[in-house]
């Protein structure tokens, strides 16, 4: 245990995903000995992020405005929507520079054991986007693990009756992992080789 504000810092850092108690301590002492200007810049960025960054009202991706960069880009194909779990998955797919459609961020995956059901995700918003018939293909790019697969099954069953083609990235993505860890070549191949889901 450390005194007052140092311990507060360690506790705050320890709340971050992927940071254990030891990591929190290491980061805290790094910040204490770092150039005060660097630390001030970090603090300012943190404040900016909380004030400036919002979620796109259309797709749920992170955005600096009402709508994200992808949704505002008129060159992007509005007939294809790629459904992902988190904004970081949008970033992973954008890195392969092959996908030219739009996105829809669910905000997670269906996980009944954690109390997360379909109503807790942005599924109603997705169905609203599909209502006018302009979208002809939905790519279900939820994580290639059990919860991602179950979420894809649920969505396919919901979307199919609308007459929209439902596909899922297939080849090369081994089950069990998370999309963000897939390398660009594998992810690119998975998108090319996407298969139509039959429910």
């Amino acid at each position: 245990m450390y005194e007052g504000v140092v311990q507060d810092l360690i506790d705050e850092l320890g709340q971050l995903p992927g940071v254990g108690p030891k990591g929190a301590q290491r980061i805290a002492f790094h910040l204490l000995t770092a150039d005060p200007d660097d630390v001030r810049r970090l603090a300012a960025t943190l404040i900016q992020v909380t004030e400036k960054v919002k979620f796109c009202r259309i797709c749920g991706n992170v955005a600096e405005n009402e709508e994200c960069k992808v949704c505002r880009d008129t060159r992007r194909d509005p007939s294809v929507i790629c459904v992902v779990e988190e904004p970081k998955d949008v970033a992973a797919i954008e890195k392969i520079r092959e996908y030219r459609g739009r996105y829809h961020v669910l905000g997670g995956a269906i996980s009944p054991i954690d109390g997360v059901g379909p109503d807790d995700l942005r599924i109603r918003e997705l169905m609203t986007r599909l209502a006018d018939g302009a979208v002809t293909e939905v790519i279900l790019a939820t994580d290639p693990n059990l919860e991602g697969e179950a979420t894809a099954t649920y969505l396919a069953r919901l979307i199919k009756p609308l007459g929209v083609r439902v596909t899922r990235p297939a080849s090369g993505l081994p089950v069990g992992g998370e999309l963000e860890y897939a390398d660009e070549v594998t992810l690119g191949r998975a998108f090319e080789g996407r298969r139509t889901l039959n429910v």
């Binding site: 954690d114 059901g117 059990l146 081994p174 069990g176 390398d183």
Partner: protein, 285 residues
Amino acid sequence: MSAACRPSAVRQNGIVGTYRDDGIVLRTQKLGEADRIITILSRRNGRIRAVAKGVRRTKSRFGARLEPFSHVDLMLYTGRSLDVITQAETVRGYGEPLVGDYPRYTAGTAMLETAERFTTIEKEPALRQFLLLVGGLRTLVDGGHEPRLVLDAFLLRSLAVAGYAPALEECAICGVRAPSDDDDDDDDPGPGPVGGGRGHWRRGSGLRTFGVAAGGLTCKSCHAPGAATAATGTIDLMVSLLRGDWEAADASERRHQVECSGLVAAYLQWHLEHSIRSLRHVEHA
């Protein structure tokens, strides 16, 4: 599926602190950058929590073997706070056939959560609960019965294993036997015990009183606060599920199945003092 279907009865003592067991993966939680904590209901060591390193990377050597619903044969070593998984071989993966069928998947998830709730103490052997779970998942995957019936059978039997089997053929309070369905039609109180006016059943109405707190059926003479009425068909279904009489269970009416699910869920929640979160998301197929 791999070749490792051999029963792993031998505990390996070659390396200090290393042990082998097989079990069903109940739950996984993210840990740090790419690791997960895996909760397993094992054959010999009850519920274990262990770390799988690097498992979230798409190129992990564990692949999909440590996903929920996997029956795996494991090598572990005893760590200071959590054990660590060093090897995992698939015995049978129940997850893959389940994810493609949403009602079955949600029923299976409720089974995993229930198994975790019934094994409150880590590493306390729970062989009967383990065997029940394996049997339940097998029945669910085989697809011969309504997923909700398979789930309710599993829940009832888990309650029974824990010593909470509901009284379904006698009054939970005074113990007097309920009349069989055949003599339920007449309004004759029948040969109940003499004196005290106890042991009467509602007859002719096709209804029974089920007291969650009382522990099952209650007769007309025993007052059970908060007891609900249930159709005799519902109680018969519960008996069938508890006994494993699938022929009778499959033939049951849907309204009895729905009522049965409600009673079982309420009874389960009462005994666990906890709701099973997944139950809310289970669909009737």
